[in-house]
Amino acid sequence: MSEYLTRGAAQERAIAKLLHYGTGLASFIIAAGLVVEWLHPSTNTFGLGGGGLIKCGVALLILLPVARVALMLIQFAQARDTAYVAISALVLAIIATGFLAGL
């Protein structure tokens, strides 16, 4: 059964990295936004204001799992795994439908 364990190990490490650093970055941006807002509560929401930073961090968090599915799609494409390219693409399409429906 060792083929199960060797298969995809590098793929899973890459996904782990994306999620780990992605969560770290988004949390850092939200924390920075909260600090900026605490120091300068009146700064405007756009540009470098605290509220704008928090919004950026939240948006990044929401996009992170979507980026993870996109990464998996690329990995399956590199492995020429057509069935799983199609399945990942379907997941992305369903999420995109939700985004578009929100507009």
Partner: protein
């Protein structure tokens, strides 16, 4: 109620602290804190339930992504199975996005109460390993999709192979889990894990890791739509998500310090009380805080 929610600094600190506490305690038992965020926001902070649901989804994503890496490195997550089941969970989430505007608030409260009750019941019963079937049918979905895998042995011994059970049944249960996730702003781990244990017959560690992995994508499908609609109050969602992530890390470290069984009973009591409070809100009886 702790003041009006104007996104002020004092509030951000309280929101962070509340999410941190819920997440740290939840982390000790290895449970997601998402289910506590909506009751905390509605009862403690007086937030409208729709706003609370949207904000909670962001922290659900943060917790799922934040805890995924170690589980992936231990090779416990079945990522192929996850992406197959995500077609159903995201479709369920999409249905929830369309339904949430139509469903009366009363039903949302009652559904939330029901899910809290199920969580309490699940916390009381211990999960048992599903018996492994000997040889999988060569034409079933799991075989065709190459989903069977193995659990690595930590001590360096031989890996334990497992076969994945009924994929069609798993998919339909996951659709329901995705729907509930979008409607209530929770990760729906409480519905995903039984589906994986019973329908797919996965080893417990694999079903927990795979369920956690899928929760982020499921929540992102609905949170993305709510974000684009402008339904996510980021002044609320930001500190709550940050508190949840930091709390989850702290909770995992506290694991040894606290007695698991006492904490378990405490959580069951809290879940039951919250279920009663949610049901009362659903029937229009409002608690004065």
């Amino acid at each position: 109620m702790i003041g009006a929610l104007d996104g002020g600094t004092g509030n951000a600190v309280w929101l962070f602290a509340a999410a941190f506490g819920a997440s740290a305690l939840g982390g000790v038992l290895g449970m997601a804190s998402g289910i506590f965020i909506v009751p905390i926001l509605t009862f403690l902070f007086g937030v409208d339930i729709h706003t609370a649901i949207a904000a909670s989804l962001v922290s659900v994503i943060a917790c799922s992504c934040g805890s995924a890496a170690p589980l992936l490195k231990e090779r416990l997550t079945n990522i192929r199975l996850a992406v197959v089941l995500e077609t159903a969970t995201t479709l369920g989430a999409l249905t929830g996005v369309f339904l949430i505007g139509i469903i009366p608030t009363t039903y949302l409260y009652l559904l939330f109460a029901a899910i809290l009750a199920v969580s309490a019941q699940q916390m009381l019963t211990r999960r048992r390993e599903a018996a492994q079937t000997a040889v999988p049918d060569s034409r079933n979905w799991a075989t065709v999709l190459r989903l069977h895998s193995a659990v690595p042995d930590r001590a360096g011994g031989a890996a334990a192979p497992y076969h994945v059970g009924s994929v069609p049944l798993g998919l339909s249960l996951m659709y329901g889990a995705g729907l509930v996730s979008a409607l209530l702003g929770i990760g729906s781990g409480v519905l995903k894990i039984p589906a994986m244990d019973t329908a797919l017959r996965l080893p417990i560690k694999v079903s927990s890791a795979t369920s956690n992995f899928m929760i982020g994508v499921t929540a992102a499908a609905s949170a993305g739509a709510y974000f684009v609609r402008g339904d996510i109050n980021t002044a609320l969602a930001g500190p709550v998500a940050l508190g949840s992530v930091v709390g989850a890390i702290a909770g995992a470290r506290m694991l040894m310090g606290l007695s698991g069984d006492k904490l378990r009973i405490f959580f069951v009591i809290v879940l039951v009380l919250l279920a009663v409070a949610m049901a009362m809100s659903g029937f229009g009886v409002h608690l004065k805080t």
